[in-house]
Symmetry: C2
Subunit: 151 residues, 2 copies
């Protein structure tokens, strides 16, 4: 028998009131969604968090809680923070490659203007520019990271 209760009320074996805080965000056809957030945060904390938000923001909050809970279930040590580390590394790699490529563009442009330049000069210019760009990346990438206090 389908009682019409949401996933949370079914799991907690209680009546699902018309104004149930979980009902719009934890439908009965996706019980795992509630199980995950309940396991990590506890139903009471999830309910309190949703309750303190304006109604139109609760769906987004429920989604992000579910996402973080899933991350923590899959990676109990780092949770969502593991993903943050991974993305920071990707940014650093992309910015390093960009710095290298920008230095290459600058050298190619300078040699298009002065085609008589020696190969030795080209390499020296490139290395100087690359070092400058990499210094910029190093300064930019990790100075403003929100995780700097954590790492």
């Amino acid at each position: 028998m389908n009682s019409g209760r949401c996933a949370a009320c079914r799991y907690l074996r209680r009546r699902c009131a018309p104004d149930c805080i979980f009902s719009p965000y934890f439908p009965s056809n996706n019980p795992q969604r509630f199980v995950s957030v309940h396991r990590i945060y506890g139903a009471s904390n999830v309910g309190k968090l949703l309750q303190q938000l304006p109604t139109h923001l609760r769906a987004e909050a429920a989604d992000s809680l579910y996402f973080e809970a899933q991350c923590r279930v899959e990676d109990p040590i780092y949770g969502c923070v593991g993903l943050v580390f991974l993305l920071q590394q990707q940014i650093h790699d992309a910015e390093s490659q960009l710095a290298k490529t920008l230095a290459e563009v600058a050298v190619l442009k300078s040699h298009a203007k002065h085609p008589q330049a020696q190969q030795f000069e080209a390499e020296s210019d490139f290395n100087n520019l690359l070092q400058k760009q990499l210094d910029n990346v190093a300064n930019l990438s990790f100075s403003n990271q929100a995780t700097s206090g954590f790492m």
Copy 2:
């Protein structure tokens, strides 16, 4: 009087046993650290999560729980997921700029070999290469994101 209890046991007004699960990770000189994780996850869930991990991994887990809890306190709607979105945007921007710059390098190199090429051809080459690189970025950036199911 300093009872020698950890921040968790002080907050919960209980005796701090020698094998207290919180004690090594929530020292009494940083009460806010425990308050944050307790507010978001609840002491019992934090204790359970730490208990199920090998001892040498608990410090990292306590750090990441604290980081995520702080994110959620500061941004109750998106928490740590807000930071993930921000980093994904940064990666996308860096990869788009990289694609553009790689296309520029390819055109400059091709024109260094064939200096007689027309300006019109140069622009056309550049736009074709750029489109190709941007297509690659679009395919790479968002196909493998761990958040694809969430967004």
